[in-house]
C-alpha cells in the first residue's frame, strides 16, 4: 500500500493542488448563485483575465507590485461586470441575466483575443512558487504544496467573514430574501457588489496558482477550469461554500487519478489523460440525475 502511494504520489499531489485551484474558482460561482440565483458564466473568463494581466504587468513591474495589482484589478473587473451587465437587469427574468453573463464571457474572451493576437502568452515564473522540489522521490513544484494550504486558509477566512461580520450576516440575509433584507436597512446592491468582489479576488489567487503550473495563458484558458469549478459547485450543492470546496477537491483528485490510470490501475494504455475531462462532465450528468441538489444542496426550512 505504502509502495502504491509512493509510486503514484505525484498524481495525488497534483490532484489535491488542482482541486484547491478549482475550489477557489468554485467559491465565486457558488456565492454569486447563492445571492442572485445566477450562474455567472463570465467567472472563468475573469480568472483568465487575471492570468493575462499578470503576464503583462509582470513584464514591467516587480512581483511585489504586480501581484497585488493583479488582485486589485481583478476585483475591479468583477465589480464593473456586476454593475454594468447584471445590476440593470435586477428585476428582469433570470434568463435575461444569464444571457447577459454569457455575453460578458464572450466579450472578455474576445477582448483577450484582441490584446494577445490569439497567441499563447508565457506566464511569468513567480520565484518561490515555481521552484521544483522533491518529496518522497516525486518531483513537483512548490505551488503544488502551497495550493491546498492556501485554499484552506482562504476558505476559513471567508467563513469567518460570513459568520462573524455584519457584511457576512447581510450576505446570508440577502441570499434568502431581497425584500426583507431591504426592510432591515441592508443596501442589497452593496452586498451583491461585495459578493462579486470576493469571488473575483479568490479567482485571481487561483489564477496565480493555476497558471504557475500550466505556464501559458490563452484567451480561452478560463473556460475549462471555469467549467470544472462550476461542476464542482454543482456537485457540492450550488449555493454552499463548503460544498463547492469539497466538490472541487474530489473532482481535482479524481481527474488526476484518471490521468495516472495506466500506473495506478495497472491497466496499460496511453489514452487515459484524454478521458480526464470527459470524466468530469460525465460525473456532472450522474450528479444531476442522482442528486440534483448536490452534496450540501439547499434544504428549505420555511414555515408559513
Amino acid at each position: 500500500m505504502a509502495d502504491f502511494f509512493h509510486q503514484n504520489l505525484s498524481y495525488f499531489l497534483s490532484g489535491i493542488s488542482v482541486g484547491g485551484q478549482y475550489a477557489l474558482i468554485a467559491i465565486g460561482y457558488t456565492m454569486v448563485y447563492g445571492i442572485l440565483r445566477l450562474i455567472n458564466f463570465a467567472h472563468g473568463d475573469v480568472f483568465m483575465c487575471a492570468g493575462l494581466m499578470m503576464v503583462y504587468l509582470s513584464s514591467s513591474l516587480p512581483f511585489t507590485i504586480s501581484i497585488p495589482l493583479v488582485l486589485i484589478l481583478t476585483v475591479a473587473i468583477g465589480f464593473v461586470i456586476e454593475r454594468v451587465a447584471y445590476k440593470p437587469l435586477r428585476s428582469a427574468p433570470r434568463m435575461s441575466v444569464m444571457i447577459s453573463a454569457i455575453g460578458v464571457s464572450y466579450l472578455l474572451q474576445n477582448a483577450a483575443l484582441y490584446f494577445t493576437g490569439g497567441l499563447a502568452k508565457v506566464y511569468p515564473e513567480i520565484p518561490v512558487l515555481s521552484r521544483s522540489i522533491v518529496i518522497w522521490d516525486a518531483t513537483t513544484r512548490v505551488v503544488t504544496l502551497v495550493t491546498p494550504f492556501l485554499t484552506i486558509i482562504l476558505v476559513v477566512l471567508l467563513s469567518m467573514l460570513i459568520k462573524h461580520t455584519k457584511v457576512g450576516m447581510a450576505m446570508c440575509a440577502v441570499s434568502r430574501d431581497f425584500e426583507t433584507s431591504q426592510l432591515m436597512g441592508i443596501r442589497i446592491n452593496r452586498v451583491i457588489s461585495m459578493t462579486f468582489m470576493l469571488g473575483s479576488l479568490l479567482a485571481a489567487v487561483a489564477s496565480l496558482l493555476y497558471f504557475t503550473n500550466y505556464a501559458s495563458v490563452t484567451p480561452t484558458s478560463g473556460s475549462m477550469p471555469g467549467l470544472k469549478a462550476f461542476v464542482a459547485a454543482v456537485f457540492g450543492g450550488i449555493g454552499s461554500i463548503p460544498g463547492a470546496v469539497i466538490g472541487a477537491f474530489i473532482i481535482g483528485i479524481c481527474e488526476n487519478i484518471i490521468k495516472g490510470g495506466a500506473s495506478i490501475f495497472g491497466i496499460p494504455g496511453s489514452g487515459w489523460t484524454t478521458f480526464s475531462d470527459a470524466f468530469t462532465f460525465a460525473f456532472l450528468i450522474v450528479v444531476l440525475i442522482v442528486k440534483p441538489t448536490g452534496l450540501f444542496g439547499e434544504k428549505s426550512v420555511d414555515k408559513v
Binding site: 446570508c172 425584500e179 426583507t180 426592510l183 436597512g185 443596501r187
Partner: protein
C-alpha cells in the same frame, strides 16, 4: 408626525392606490382596514420605500421621504413588519434580532433584553433557527426584529394572518404594550374587529381609495363598517 398626501401608486400594471391621504399622530395606534386587494399592503410597501409612488407626498417628522430607498427610511425610524413575517429561517433567533439592528452603530444589548422581556419565548429559543419556530413565535420574532431598529413608527402588515385566535390576542396585547412604550403604530388588518378595538384612529380602504375614517370606537359601531367588515 406622519402624513400622506394624495398618494397614488401603480403596482403590477394597475393603479393599486388612488389619491389617498392619511395622517398618523405621534403615539397613536392607527389602523387601515379593508378587504383583500384594497391596496393596504401596497400603501405600506410604498411608505417603506419598496415601491415607488406615481404621485403624492409622504412626510415624516416634517421631512419629505417620498421615493427614498428603504435603508434611508429605516434609518429615519420607520419600520415595516412584513406580511407573512418573513423571518430569516437559516439565521438563529438572536441573529434575526441582530440583523434588525443592521443600521445601528450603538450598543444593542439593552434592546435585545427589551425584546426578550416583551417575548420571553424568544429568549428560550435564542439559539434556535428562525425556521423552526411556530407561526406565533415567528410573528413575535418579526415584531422583535422590527423593534431592534429603534423605530418611531412601526408599520404592521396583517400580524394576525394564519394565527390561532389565542395567539392573535397575545400579539394584539403586545402591540398595545409596545405603543405605550412610545412607538407609534400603523396597522393593517383584515381582522377589522380586533384592529379597531385597539386603534385610536381607523381608515377604511376600498379598491385603492380611502372611503371612511374616524375614531376606532366610532367605526366599530358604524353601520356600513359592521356590514362590510365585521360580519353584520
Amino acid at each position: 408626525m406622519f402624513e400622506i398626501k394624495g398618494l397614488s401608486v401603480n403596482y403590477g400594471g394597475i393603479e393599486a392606490v388612488r389619491d389617498i391621504s392619511l395622517s398618523v399622530p405621534e403615539g397613536a395606534i392607527v389602523t387601515l382596514i379593508g378587504a383583500n386587494g384594497a391596496g393596504k399592503s401596497t400603501t405600506l410597501r410604498t411608505i417603506a420605500g419598496l415601491v415607488k409612488p406615481r404621485a403624492g407626498k409622504i412626510e415624516f417628522m416634517g421631512e419629505d421621504i417620498t421615493g427614498k430607498d428603504p435603508a434611508y427610511i429605516v434609518g429615519k425610524g420607520i419600520t415595516l413588519v412584513p406580511e407573512g413575517r418573513r423571518i430569516f429561517p437559516d439565521l438563529t433567533v438572536l441573529e434575526n434580532l441582530k440583523i434588525g439592528a443592521y443600521l445601528r452603530q450603538d450598543s444593542i444589548e439593552e434592546d435585545i433584553e427589551w425584546v426578550y422581556s416583551l417575548f420571553p419565548r424568544l429568549r428560550e429559543r435564542s439559539w434556535q433557527y428562525g425556521g423552526t419556530l411556530s407561526g406565533g413565535e415567528q410573528q413575535m420574532l418579526a415584531v422583535g426584529r422590527a423593534l431592534m431598529s429603534k423605530p418611531k413608527l412601526m408599520m404592521m402588515d396583517e400580524p394576525s394572518l394564519g394565527l390561532a385566535p389565542l395567539v392573535v390576542k397575545d400579539i394584539f396585547s403586545i402591540i398595545e404594550k409596545i405603543n405605550k412604550e412610545g412607538v407609534t403604530i400603523l396597522l393593517i388588518e383584515q381582522n377589522a374587529n380586533m384592529a379597531l378595538k385597539i386603534a385610536d384612529i381607523g381608515y377604511v380602504m376600498e379598491t385603492g381609495q380611502i372611503t371612511l375614517s374616524g375614531k376606532g370606537s366610532d367605526l366599530i359601531s358604524d353601520e356600513g363598517v359592521r356590514k362590510a367588515y365585521l360580519g353584520g
